[in-house]
Structure formats: structure tokens, C-alpha cells
Amino acid sequence: MSIELPGVGSKYEIETAQGDKVAIVFLESGEIHLYVLEKGCDSPCVVVLSESEARRLGSILSGTVFHIEKELVEIVFTALSDLRISVHTYVVNKAMAGKSIEELAIRKRTGVTVIAVSRKGKNVVNPPPSFRFEDGDVIVVIGEHDQISKFEREILGIR
């Protein structure tokens, strides 16, 4: 739950099981202040983040970025009432290799769309449904956060 700080912005607070406190303050100026207060300590450390730095930190904490072949970019269209689209890259694994987009029924089962495939340095943008994956292909998919999670579970079989 966010706490309103009138005249300043809004604040989110977490107290850990050990009693340490973390607070994130979104200032009206657009700056993001990350407070860390160790238990028993009275002077917090504060990190000032820009919006993009905060998003990167968020991705790391939420576990969406764990190695280089698997990257997340979130695109935000502020003009379209903050429309957010997650763009992910994945390396094709055994569960997908040798099958086509149609056979896997990726969109039907998960809602995500494969928008590009990179194979041995060559890129295919908007691959047709008949496109067959090979082991080691790097694919780019887009979707909402939930759809991406579903894709990881049902198609890639991870998590």
C-alpha cells in the first residue's frame, strides 16, 4: 500500500523479518529515493535513482534478469495512459527446438507473441506461424507481465 506524503509524493515501506526497513519515496519531481534503515540504526542511507535506474533495479529484484541471454526491456508509453509492454529475449531450449510457432500454439496458450528470431547472426522479424525453432535460436517475445510468466512456465518449462 502506498502512503501519501502530501507535497512530496508517495512512499512504499517494507519491514523485513530481521527488522530492517526499506522505503521507496517517489518524489513529485520524478526522482526516486531509496531509503535503507538497518535495525537499531537511526540515520538511513539514501540512494537517489532516476526512473530508468529504478526500473533496472526492479527487474533485478523481481528476478526477471538472471543472465545475459535472457533480457527484459519494459517499454512505457506515457501518452497512452502509461501502457507498459514487456519485451523479453530467450534462448530456445530443448522443449521448443524442432517445433513451429503454430504447433506450440504460443499465442493461444500464453498470450505472448514472438516478434523476432535471431539465428546464427541473422534476424527474422515477424516470423510466420510455420516458423520452426532450432536449438540455440534467440527469440524476442512481447506480452504483459503475466503472459510472459505463463510463457516461461508453459512453453519453456522453467520456474
Binding site: 502512503i3 501519501e4 506524503l5 502530501p6 507535497g7 512530496v8 512512499k11 515501506e13 526497513k21 522505503a23 519515496v25 518524489l27 513529485e28 529515493h33 531509503y35 534503515l37 537511526d42 540515520s43 538511513p44 539514501v46 501518452a79
Partner: protein, 362 residues
């Protein structure tokens, strides 16, 4: 026009000084104005108008912060804060002022000096890294409540007793029209706000409304703050109002300083007494609020020590009153308390801890 040019250059220099030191900018602008005035700089009609815009944009901006729904949600807690703050701060300032000035002037002085400076207090909370502590939330709500009471003061300050009913009616009608307008066109406005070029001029045009309704006898100050409140649902407006507020308000401070006549008609003892009452009053109010809301005197000391600085609102009330004695007393007190407040705010948390330790030690 030359006065505005000179003012802008001086204010930029003053801001640079303020950035490099812990001294808040508001008293420095006023001091710069006083000095420039004594060196012979004269205000023109243009500077007068720009100062007026400064007041209007400040009040629109304050109005935008006042979100009625959040108040209603927290009304129980907030009423306590507001009432304690008003009585504990206002009473000692009034009591001391009455000893030296006319009752009418004393009331205006107390009204002006009761309100802390949101700008200085908010800045100090961010700079001193205090936003993680629950006391800071209380302090911020205190600032907003003082803004609400400011509306009441503005109303009383502008109403002539005989015409009060007529006046109240006008204000109510105006508020209703503005609120209705804002609600009706909310969706449309939100869409338009995506176009940056349009937005700047639209935000600026909000200032025209108070100037227009002043013609039918509703004071600009009241009109401006009500406009702000009407549009407080649209978050992004604030971002566009802010640059105008920042520029014109600085000019307002400077030219307010310029209008102060330093003459030896106020006893220094009176000024010192008012300053002490102003500091002690707010400190006591903070202590009581901390005791009641957070259950500890340590929190109270922290809240009190953080909110001592007076600034933009005190100057605003003094400027609107137009009484020379009030202007001088308030100006001197604002300069003194904003400097004292900058120091006490910095060590507020440490002071609170000290109180706590001594209590445990007993």
C-alpha cells in the same frame, strides 16, 4: 522594466548562494529586496503585476496539493493535528503581539506567523533524509492543514464585515462553478494535457481566472487557491504550474522586500518577543502533536524542531494585509525563524533522541 531585470539577476545570484550553503533561499530573496530598496531601486507597475502573478501561482499550486478525498479519509487523525497546531501556535503569538500592537494588527500578525513554511520544511525533510520516519508524515499533513486554515484566513482578511453575507455567497457560487467546470471537463482536459505545447499556455491561463473574478469582488488569492483545489484531480497540472510558480514567486519575495520601509518605529524588544513567541509556539504545538499522535515526547520534539521556519505564507498574509507594521514584524520574524528553523530542523531527530535517552536514563 529595468527593475525586473535587476531583480532577476540578483535572485539568480541569491539562489546560487543558497545552493552552496544550508541557508534557505526565501529569507535571502527578501533581504536582497530590502537591500536593493535601500540602495534606491524602485518597483514599477510591471514588477507589481509579476509579484501578483507570484501570489496567484503559489496559491494555485497550494490548492492542487489539497485533495479533499484524502482529507475525508484521514479526517479523525487530521482534525486533532489541525486544532492543536492552530491553538497552541496562534495563542502565544497573539498574546505577545497584543502587548505591543493594535488588536486588529496583532490578529493579522498572529495569523501570518502561525503558518510554517511548507517550502522550507519539505526541502529540509528531503535533504536531511527523514522521509522514512513516521514523524515526517505527520509533519507533511500538518503543512497541508495549515494551508487549509490559510484559506479561512484569506476569507476573513478580505471580507468586510457588513458585506460578509454577500461576499460568502459570491465565493460559494464561484467555487461551485469552478468545481463543476473542472469535473465536467476532466476527461477532455486529461487528454489535452498530453500535448506539451498546449499545456504550458493552458496552465498559465489558469492565472487569468483569479484576475478576472477579482473584477466581481472575489479576491484573487481566494479565487486562485480554489482553482487549484478544483483541478487537484489532475496530477500532471502541478508539473506545468511549478515553473511559473518558481519564477514569479521569487520576484514576489524580492519586491516584497523592496516594499519594506525600515524605520525606527518598532521597538526591537517587541520584535524579539514576537520571534520568541513564534518559535516557542510552534515548538510546543509540535511537542503536543507528537505526544498525542506518536505517544512520545521525542517525536514531539522532532516535529516541533522541524516546523519552526516561517516563509512564503507568512509573507503572503502580510503582503495582502498591506499594513506597514504587520509587514515589518512579519518580515523580520520570517527572516529570523527561517534561519533558526534551518538549524533546528537539521538536528531535530537528534534532539528527539536526546530527550528519549534522558527519559530512559531517569
Amino acid at each position: 522594466m529595468i527593475d525586473v531585470a535587476i531583480a532577476v539577476v540578483i535572485c539568480v545570484a541569491v539562489l546560487a548562494v543558497s545552493y552552496k550553503t544550508p541557508i534557505p533561499a526565501i529569507p535571502l530573496y527578501i533581504i536582497a529586496g530590502i537591500v536593493a530598496g535601500n540602495l534606491g531601486l524602485k518597483a514599477s507597475e510591471v514588477s507589481h503585476f509579476l509579484s501578483q502573478l507570484g501570489i496567484i501561482f503559489l496559491l494555485i499550486y497550494i490548492g492542487l496539493e489539497i485533495k479533499i478525498e484524502s482529507f475525508i479519509k484521514k479526517s479523525k487523525e487530521l482534525t486533532g493535528i489541525g486544532v492543536i497546531d492552530l491553538f497552541v501556535t496562534f495563542t502565544p503569538i497573539l498574546a505577545v503581539s497584543v502587548l505591543f500592537f493594535d488588536l486588529a494588527d496583532a490578529v493579522v500578525i498572529a495569523a501570518a506567523l502561525y503558518i510554517s513554511s511548507s517550502a522550507i520544511v519539505i526541502h529540509s525533510l528531503i535533504e536531511n533524509r527523514r522521509l522514512i520516519f513516521p514523524e515526517s508524515e505527520t509533519i507533511l499533513w500538518m503543512m497541508i492543514l495549515e494551508d487549509l486554515i490559510l484559506i479561512v484566513f484569506l476569507f476573513l482578511l478580505s471580507a468586510k464585515i457588513a458585506a460578509v453575507m454577500d461576499f460568502a455567497l459570491k465565493v460559494v457560487v464561484y467555487s461551485a462553478v469552478v468545481m463543476l467546470f473542472a469535473k465536467t471537463f476532466l476527461k477532455y482536459l486529461k487528454r489535452l494535457l498530453a500535448e506539451t505545447e498546449f499545456v504550458s499556455i493552458a496552465a498559465f491561463s489558469l492565472a487569468a481566472i483569479p484576475l478576472l473574478v477579482a473584477e466581481v469582488g472575489i479576491p484573487e488569492s481566494l479565487a486562485a487557491i480554489l482553482i487549484g483545489m478544483a483541478f487537484s484531480d489532475i496530477k500532471s497540472i502541478q508539473r506545468y504550474i511549478k515553473p511559473f510558480k518558481d519564477v514569479f514567486l521569487v520576484l514576489f519575495f524580492f519586491f516584497f522586500g523592496l516594499s519594506i520601509k525600515i524605520e525606527g518605529f518598532i521597538h526591537p524588544g517587541a520584535l524579539i518577543a514576537v520571534i520568541i513567541a513564534t518559535v516557542v509556539g510552534k515548538f510546543a504545538a509540535g511537542a503536543v502533536i507528537g505526544r498525542v499522535l506518536h505517544g512520545s515526547l521525542a517525536s514531539g520534539v522532532e516535529i516541533g524542531a522541524t516546523t519552526i521556519a516561517r516563509g512564503e505564507f507568512s509573507i503572503l498574509v502580510a503582503a495582502l494585509s498591506g499594513v506597514e507594521v504587520v509587514k515589518t514584524v512579519v518580515t523580520v520574524t520570517v527572516i529570523a525563524t527561517s534561519l533558526i528553523g534551518a538549524v533546528t530542523a537539521k538536528y531535530a531527530r537528534a534532539a528527539g533522541k536526546l530527550v528519549q535517552k534522558r527519559k530512559i536514563g531517569e
